[in-house]
Amino acid sequence: MLPEFLRYDFMQNAFLATTVIALMGSLVGYFVVLRRQAFGSHALSNIGFAGAAGASLIGAEPMVGLLVFVLGAALLMAWSGRNVGERDVSVGMILMFSLGLGALFINLYSANANAAIGILFGSVFGIDASQIRWITITSLVVLAGLIALFRPLRFSSLNPDAARAKGIPVSLIDTLFLLLLGAASAIAVPVIGALLSFAIFIGPASAAQAWSGRVGIGLALTALLALGEALGGLVISYYANLPASSCIAALSFGLYALSRLTRYGLPISSLSRSSG
């Protein structure tokens, strides 16, 4: 009945985790791209690395360390500046400090360097049933939060000044969104890897926005592309015996490149246009 690769428990877990992460992460990612917070998203995942390493060091559950670090960093980012430009530097500084901490924790916890590689690049085939539970519950919370915030978030992403004038609590919504993004990053890190979270959060959403100028269609397309690339990556990884994260990252980049090509043409032609 089942295809060969789904006969193993670890493959079933991997499929389940990847499906949930791809759907939830990419939908959050749609708003990340709309709000131009890609750097913040990248930073949050990488900060998770320090949290997981720290938790391992003191013998706690890595997922708890991830959540604590990432949510703390999300709050710091929210308070660090109102406009994107001034936030760029502070996000980078928070990221730098966390990576420094991460390096320290790994250094102190030299027993298992493989754990660090797992956090940085993901270990989707190492996901167990208890992690699946974590991932599913957190994803449902994040999606519920996204649905609750949908209308004010969409408006304040597109026109923050007008939203503030309407009495919409723009800063609060910004903070809540960063917390949702933080929670989403925390559960995505063990699956896709801190360094490769762009593949889920940014790749599908930016391709979808290149192909559709509508929010509804864009969100549906984002979820579909994310699912396709994530599950496709797993299958390729199984048959070609390549790391799953690498396959997902390659598919994500391929989609992104394709969306740029179909929308803007070859880079050569845009170069000649801008110089002419």
Binding site: L34, R151, P152, S156, N159, D161, K166
Partner: protein
């Protein structure tokens, strides 16, 4: 009731910190009127808008917006920021941008059964600003004037009684300026009061009912002739000012007859 002013401000002073950006400012805004809010950069035009919206605290005076406190009246007011304040490579189409404001203060997702109503409101708003042709165009492909019209359309979907246009002419070419002015004039004729901030009075000289001039921490409201004249502007700027009328336009200069320096052009 119809003659009751939308805004009644008496001797107001306001500012973000403890210092006031302007003081002793009095004016009224009548329903469906067109007010030109004029003054040099930094004179407090945006701060005045924020005061009317209840975002900046009042330090002195009384301010009634639709007979109520500004914070409570602001759902009937729409604020339109400068187009240049928006992100530049936005991938959404005009229609989606405009409809994002519809009931945006409510939590949750829009209900599918309200779709037709929302669609009608958005179509009407696009038509009002003469931007139906921009509905399917991506924002990234639009000019400054086209974006400005979409911003105004977005402000209209919540059915405001008053619309605050913050420097809508900045960075536009003359043809686009004329178009924005006629869109704003049409709004006033439909009964939506307009406060139109600009550092140059000339583009709105023919359409404005009153001028609210801010300079030097003070402000005066009145007819164009009462405000854009040597005596009022000299008083506001606290130095000798000259107004020269030429070909239906007014030019404001600073200084004596011998050494004139153009202001606000």
């Amino acid at each position: 009731m119809a003659d009751e002013p939308l805004i009644h401000a008496r001797d107001i002073a306001a500012g973000k910190g403890s210092a006031s950006v302007f003081e002793a400012l009095s004016f009224t805004i009548a329903p469906g009127s067109f007010t030109a809010l004029v003054g040099p950069n930094g004179a407090g035009k945006t701060s005045l808008f924020e005061t009317l919206l209840g975002l900046v605290p009042l330090h002195a005076g009384t301010l009634a917006v639709m007979g109520d406190k500004p914070r409570r009246a602001r759902r009937h007011i729409a604020y339109v920021p400068q187009a240049s304040r928006l992100l530049h490579d936005d991938a959404l189409i005009g229609r989606e941008f405009v409809s994002a404001a519809y009931q945006a203060h409510r939590w949750g997702m829009p209900l599918p059964n309200r779709r037709r109503q929302r669609s009608r409101v958005v179509d009407a708003a696009l038509e009002t600003v003469d931007a139906s042709d921009l509905a399917r165009r991506r924002l990234s492909t639009l000019s400054g004037g086209q974006r400005q019209r979409l911003l105004i359309a977005q402000a209209l979907v919540n059915d405001p009684h008053l619309i605050l246009l913050d420097e809508p002419l900045s960075q536009l070419d003359p043809a686009a300026r004329d178009r924005i002015v006629s869109v704003a004039d049409a709004l006033a004729r439909r009964g939506i009061a307009v406060i139109f901030s600009t550092h140059d009075i000339n583009p709105v000289l023919q359409v404005c009912d009153q001028v609210l001039y801010l300079a030097g921490g003070r402000g005066r409201a009145g007819r164009v002739d009462e405000i854009i004249c040597d005596s009022t502007l000299s008083e506001l700027y606290g130095t000798s000012m000259r107004v020269i009328s030429e070909g239906g336009r007014r030019f404001v200069f600073e200084g004596s007859q011998r050494r004139l320096r153009a202001v606000g052009q």
